[in-house]
Amino acid sequence: MEAIQPRPFYKKPVFILSLIIAAFFLRGVFLAVLFPIFQGPDEQTHYATVQYFAESKNKNWPIKKTTNNPPDGDNIFTYNYSEEIKKTAAATNFDNIKFQKNNTPFFSNNFDGPEENEIKNNQWKRYIDVYPPNTSGGSPSYYSLASVIEKIFSGQSVLFRFFSVRIFSVFLGSFVIFLLYLISKKIGFSEKNSLLITSIVAFQPMFSFMSSIVNPDILLFFCFTLFIFGAVSLLKDGITWKNTAILLFSIILGMLTKGPAIVLAVVAFFLFAYAIYRRLKISISLFFLYFLIFSLIALILVFNLAPTQYLSGITRSDSPSKFSSIAVSLGHYFNKTIGISPFSRTAGSYWGNFGWLDTKISGQIIDLIFIIEIVAVIGLLFYLFKKRKEADFLPEKKYLFLFIGLIIALQLAIRFYDWRVFDSSAKILIGTPGRYFMPNIAAHFILLAVGFGAILRKKEYFEMFLRLTLILMVVLQFYSIFSLIIPRYYL
């Protein structure tokens, strides 16, 4: 009898997964270096908030209060940040680089920038002494966690501290990648396909970018992905303490990170209802009766127990409308936001619009991706509505309905909030940049993969498709780095 040969180390899933995470982390760190300081969207505000959270509790310095004049977006000195942030930004040509792709930092002929010594050896104040501070309001979790890094390295220069916080973001991104692998495995993809799907997402250029800057969004991505892991575990294994704890933790952490996480609570409500229905084995009509009663109770509880400030914050119910009626307001909003051009902008910034959204991936590439996605959606619909399951290498439909539910819920939440702001200002102030939809990146990519799996129908064709997709995604990443990001800031 022939002895079973052990697999060589490079074929072992643990090794390949470690390599995916290592490659993601190294690329994330490299991207963290490539973007000059404060050149992520609102990155100076996010870092100012981290610094604000790291300030000593008893603020024993003189604080000057000013009227709440809106700062001038072209002048960093009009913002109520710490002196250190304002002067570092000025020394690194921040105002002239932001949004202006014809400008770069000022370079010297050596490894230190012209003003670098001044930044490193500065005695500038690290606290905000003009109020109200122009920090990010609301949810504190990312800033609290990052402020620990700020405190630990308080003896180091602002460059050291700032880029350390960026590395913290890369760590969070790495966890997302790890969770995606667990999700893919859990819902029934083979070991190999799970690794391929994970690596495809790991090379998505905009996700890599968002994992490399100081921004709470990456913690939100983590919360959504953790939630999805908990949700698919619940769908597969039923209600357990572990699944429940994961779901609750991700919802709470998400809500403490950024507003859109509210959709997790809503989806969880339906998810638990479904799981309970499966366990109780009651008739569908009785289930709907119970569901209605519990939904009513839940709504009453939410409206009575949730802080009024929180509810009015997410619904902007206190802001007076600029329109004569809701219908008029919605009509104007849809006119401005529904159409090929706004969707194309959202798609462009989902796949790659880097820095201060001034460094875009080519429109032709976005168009090509759009066509690929349309094909995937057709395949997905075909898979969802065909009764007989032909491709046994694809996940069960219940998981896909969960992912679709999450995507719809996040779309509605973001567009609802965007409309509420529009309603009170008659302007699109928030918008729908693609990164707002990125918390669902795991769900999105799995659905696309399933769509193509349904079209290809054979496991080996599907694997070949995933391999090709991986290659194209890596190429897209390399193109982003060498044809866009490096030329934008350094050449």
């Binding site: 270096v33 202006q100 770069t104 490894f111 930044i119 070949m464 391999r467 190429v475 990443q477 490096i486």
Partner: protein, 231 residues
């Protein structure tokens, strides 16, 4: 038809992968030149490249090895079929042509800026050169034409450009363009790039450490692709 995907077929995606990588790195190394960085442009409109007209600007090179001019060209999609935008570098009197390049409707233009590459001029420092840009269109009456951004910032008071299609010289303004310089060899170019990226970074992101991070990122990505595609 039942196609069996033998292991050998897996080399096809790998071949595609390396073809793409070679193109990306070829374009990157071809355009690797270091533009002047000691001034900012505050864009103040654009000047149109009228058919048959010419936009020219004389500039002085800061360094030796001038080998590129980075130009903020806009509305490139307006270039008609069979039309071309002609870029020429000439001596300070705009008489003797030193280098020429052209783009057509089908040229792939960087989304950042157009890079007019030419053979490096080893002793360019402090010498003046003339950039000339013309639009050669079949339809002279074409209104939607390519444009070059301009800047009217006071720091450029001493500069001027001419646009023969728009009526002559415009003083106190400049085309949004940056002369760029190479080094004696590719390794020196990479070293200069390493220096530029290292600036305003903490010590662990500078010089050798930066090069190490880049190398590890590159190797880990390539090894990962090879393993996942070939196994």
């Amino acid at each position: 038809m039942n196609i069996k995907l033998e292991k050998n077929y897996r080399f096809i995606p790998i071949a595609i992968f390396f073809v793409f990588l070679v193109i990306i790195f070829y374009v990157f190394s071809r355009d690797l030149s270091f533009p002047e960085s000691d001034y900012n442009f505050k864009t103040g409109g654009e000047t149109k490249l009228y058919s048959g007209g010419q936009v020219t600007q004389v500039f002085s090179a800061q360094r030796n090895n001038l080998n590129q001019i980075k130009i903020a060209l806009r509305n490139g999609e307006s270039i008609g079929s069979g039309d071309e935008v002609l870029f020429q570098l000439a001596d300070a009197d705009c008489q003797e042509i030193i280098a020429t390049n052209k783009i057509t409707r089908f040229s792939i233009i960087s989304r950042i800026a157009y890079k007019f590459n030419f053979k490096a001029m080893p002793d360019s420092q402090n010498k003046s050169y003339c950039l000339m840009v013309s639009y050669l269109a079949k339809n002279p009456a074409q209104k939607n034409v390519p444009e070059i951004l301009i800047s009217k910032d006071p720091q450029f008071e001493a500069r001027s450009y001419t646009n023969t299609g728009k009526g002559g010289e415009f003083k106190g303004r400049t085309l949004v363009m940056r002369p760029a310089y190479g080094n004696d060899n590719f390794f020196q170019d990479l070293t200069e790039l390493d220096k530029r990226i290292s600036q305003y970074k903490p010590w662990f992101f500078k010089g050798f450490y930066l090069a190490a991070i880049f190398t590890l990122f590159l190797i880990s990505s390539l090894v990962l692709v090879l393993i996942l595609v070939l196994i």
